[in-house]
Symmetry: C2
Subunit: 183 residues, 2 copies
Amino acid sequence: MLSTKDKLIQVTAGLIRRKGYSGTGISEVLKEVGVPKGSLYHHFPDGKNGLIRQAIQYGGEAQMLKYGEALRGKPALEGLSAMVDVMINDLLESDYKDACPITAVAVVATSMDEDIRLACENIFKGWQENLAGYLERRGVSKANQKAEQLYAMFEGAFVLSQAHKDVKYLKNQKIYIPIILNS
Amino acid sequence: MLSTKDKLIQVTAGLIRRKGYSGTGISEVLKEVGVPKGSLYHHFPDGKNGLIRQAIQYGGEAQMLKYGEALRGKPALEGLSAMVDVMINDLLESDYKDACPITAVAVVATSMDEDIRLACENIFKGWQENLAGYLERRGVSKANQKAEQLYAMFEGAFVLSQAHKDVKYLKNQKIYIPIILNS
DNA sequence: ATAAAAATAGACCGATTAGTCTAGTGATTC
DNA sequence: GAATCACTAGACTAATCGGTCTATTTTTAT
């Protein structure tokens, strides 16, 4: 059974992924979880910002688990392709509503709240370091730089595929993954 | 001299670029432009959505002009590098507040308003077609697919550079542009 | 069993939201 | 010069925003 705090975090993570920072209201979270305001401000004394910070953390780590599972035990090319499939599935299963779990917050965080921007940065950093380690273990040269580039490509393709309601941008990545790896 | 309507569009374009759809309030726009509410609803009978739709259009076209100027008369590799420099300058000159002018709206539009999503899609489409034509005129093979990929890369690097407050992701693109072009 | 702590419950607050509506101003046209 | 139009002006509304506060219930520890 999930604790009230965890339910608040998970529901918030789902909402900020789709509607961003300002688009996600406290009352909507409370309504969806079915708890009163007192509970939220008991578990999150810092209010909305504290809640969103933890939701970013949760959403980012949950996504990393999905990526890690896709990569595990596979050679680089195959693993990265499976990672792209995770993103494609996220879009298709949600009718293009669920793209990257933290982008919608990350792109406004710089103009909103430094703590939240840092939370986003750390999630991105964790993903990238994870991928760099994976590539290194498979003997890929310049693993760190290539991990940076692969994430940039995937992130952009995620955004464009969502905006166009067409996964072709993500599918294209499968063509360019080997080109990046062999560069 | 700028008309009231144009001032409203330009100020809104600046605000949605930094704070997104829900983060941009009507009253903030009015305050910054210095006009009363009646003027806004006279020029934009559809209210906030109409205003934001036109702000997306304006911001997207303004950015395309900057990209076009960077590309003009240059060979592919040099032109694309200059295009990346435009993005780098946007970030540095705004202390990382101004990234892609429509991404902050695009990533939530699917869950908000279909008309606005379409406005974003059309801007992206215009940019991409423009770049594909540019590449084709320079004899680049598979110009359309490569334009798609280059935009995905740039878009992702824009997001990551902003989130990390570090232009290295955009600078990396200059390494991978020739690799994509020659693939 | 009782005291203390954790959590829930929700009324309430001031501020702000997008939007409406009525007046009034200014310029244009007949 | 009268009528019509485009536009400005801002008061006002209902709803919602994030947040505070006091009670009450539930759980834990002794």
